[in-house]
Symmetry: D2
Amino acid sequence: MTDPTFRDDMTVQLVKHSAADEDVVFAARVSTKGAESLPTGTFGPAEKGLINFLMRDRHGSPFEHNSMTLYVEAPIFVLREWQRHRVASYNEESARYRELKPVFYLPADDRKVVQVGRPGRYTFEPGTRMQRYTARRSIEMSAYEAWAYYREMLGEGIAREVARSVLPVSIYSSMYVTLNARSLMHFLSLRTEEEAARFPSHPQREIAMCAEQVEAIFAELMPVTYAAFQANGRVAP
Amino acid sequence: MTDPTFRDDMTVQLVKHSAADEDVVFAARVSTKGAESLPTGTFGPAEKGLINFLMRDRHGSPFEHNSMTLYVEAPIFVLREWQRHRVASYNEESARYRELKPVFYLPADDRKVVQVGRPGRYTFEPGTRMQRYTARRSIEMSAYEAWAYYREMLGEGIAREVARSVLPVSIYSSMYVTLNARSLMHFLSLRTEEEAARFPSHPQREIAMCAEQVEAIFAELMPVTYAAFQANGRVAP
Amino acid sequence: MTDPTFRDDMTVQLVKHSAADEDVVFAARVSTKGAESLPTGTFGPAEKGLINFLMRDRHGSPFEHNSMTLYVEAPIFVLREWQRHRVASYNEESARYRELKPVFYLPADDRKVVQVGRPGRYTFEPGTRMQRYTARRSIEMSAYEAWAYYREMLGEGIAREVARSVLPVSIYSSMYVTLNARSLMHFLSLRTEEEAARFPSHPQREIAMCAEQVEAIFAELMPVTYAAFQANGRVAP
Amino acid sequence: MTDPTFRDDMTVQLVKHSAADEDVVFAARVSTKGAESLPTGTFGPAEKGLINFLMRDRHGSPFEHNSMTLYVEAPIFVLREWQRHRVASYNEESARYRELKPVFYLPADDRKVVQVGRPGRYTFEPGTRMQRYTARRSIEMSAYEAWAYYREMLGEGIAREVARSVLPVSIYSSMYVTLNARSLMHFLSLRTEEEAARFPSHPQREIAMCAEQVEAIFAELMPVTYAAFQANGRVAP
């Protein structure tokens, strides 16, 4: 029997893509150029200006003709939030079809664990050493105990889909998500902490940890689009 | 401190709706009648025949001009499957914004707990008394233990969003889901056990328990549409 | 043979709905109240405040648990723009299944017909009397001529789906559209002239004429939600 | 002034893609293999069998982790039908932002022009020589006349968005469409003539001409997926 292991980080890995700033340009230019809009491979100030104009004036559809596929490992409570974004494609590891691995999320010691304020208008504080210790110990112990019940049931020949019901939402699962830049920007606009400054109903820290990695991948694949997104207040077009 | 309680059933309750067989008819008739298609309140054999024709020939869009809002209580592992259906609107209880209630799913004694066969081609067997006892006791005990950790953390002032990570996916959550008949039929086509006969990759029993209630609500609100769905092999148009 | 007739207005008519401000409230409150969120019929300052908070902080999903079905008559060039909005259900009159009616769009005399400026940054001017006369006469004459060809082909026994290809995009068609408040607000944010002040790429006047009627219907059904939309810059959450 | 030209064919051209049979495999295998499902580059009988199983049992989501972008030229009446498919991204040439080219659809002489039977249960017949002549001459003449009005208005300085209302739906427009294999198969299942055998409400010949080209592109990019689609009755999973 494998023992539980613990992580305090998230995996977001680019698996494949067809996504470049040029894709925004050819899609947009069909409006004014028809067949002459087909990709040419040139990209200069005019193309940059066009992308900025589209973002500013909320022309959303040109940002959809591209595709990124990510492999993600995160605890179930994070995947639950992520999968509420409907303009994307998901396939996830199944606790019905396979035995899960005993990998659980244990917050790092610098994860703030005390919430101050009321719903919609609160901040997080580090908490005392004792509070952080209690949190970490409880999460750790509960994982060990849940895992023991899970293994016991499997050992007795009980179906995985029944046994899995004892597992906590801190257990890691994995998924592929495929989405386009418009949907990705919408995700960033709701799930990163930059938003916390404007909207007091923060994203939870753990999904923000994923979103930051998504943002880095996006910024590298489509730097001009990303810069325009930043320059226009991080609101998806 | 409240003690855990256990349920072996699901709640699916109709909250509001604007859904009747007549809605399919007026939507379809705009094709051939334009303005004369506006609802008239008459419904007879011609209307019934039209609905059957639309279902058979897979004209899907006329089945979308209606709306049903359901209130659902089910364990998290069921809501996870449900929310993968993207053509619907969801709002769910938040374990970040409120303390959850200690209500957990404990399978009834007749829930078959042993899976025989390989992925994609298996059946479920009741299992021995001992197996069923082990399953029920493990699920029950793990709920008690997880709940104790959860309460301890909250008692120490730790944020709900941190504490909730120890809770198992057997805990109940609640949500509203709003969807139209076309999306609902697609849900039924994948999540009821009638499908198991045709497709060996069964829905899990617990989501089928929800789907059966959805089906009963749908059959009452739109009986002619439901009959046509049945008559055409339970495949959504 | 019927002669062409001309209109300079659009029809947008509420056919049925299940949409009220209360629907936003119960959907949102499930986050914090679970089962206690079920509709109670009370609506006061707290409910109003909640709706405003949701709009401001871009919590979009509570605005989806409602449904409005509209009957629309507009020229094809308007329906083309409208149907690009994908989060909605459409059924339209079919020129394959029925002979269309000879009703065409002829702009009113106060429709500005001259465009000044470059793409993305232009205004419309009334134009000279001569220009307005040319526009109206050309549109009128072309409708008569196209209609004559259409009727001639139908008279010769040629299929409607072939004959219809001569009809201009100024001909009226009719459709039903069903959508929720969130999608409707997104439509308003792009298709009304209030937007023209902020975004120089205007909606065309004719779809704005439809959007104004949609807006009036929405403001009457969901006045608090509408006020919050206005107060938050007419951007859909 | 350019004179109208006529075409009887459709353009469907692959612009870019990230789509291969392997994409279905890695997405599906995350269910049972988690991280070990990452693409390996091997593709043999097991992978083929998996794709066939997924198609047969209607596991749709693994067919979504891929992307194809097509450039299309077709008459407006075809694009209107195409754009009703909502699970795809579109950008189209704009008759508001540019002057259209005078290219019109003129059916080839072998296009059957006479419809026999009633809605939902009809066939097409070639028609007499006279009927085919009438159809072709009417469509041709109407294009010339509409184009003359259009050019006259533009010559007088009238805005493109006003002038375009005289143009018939036979005029060609161009668009980009980006979609995944699942959505593409759904499109094929409704818009190709293979379907006519099963469902008497045929797709119109002209959109089927596009769909045939889409099908050829798909069959080349994802041959195993395409074969599975064929083998399972051409119904999208």
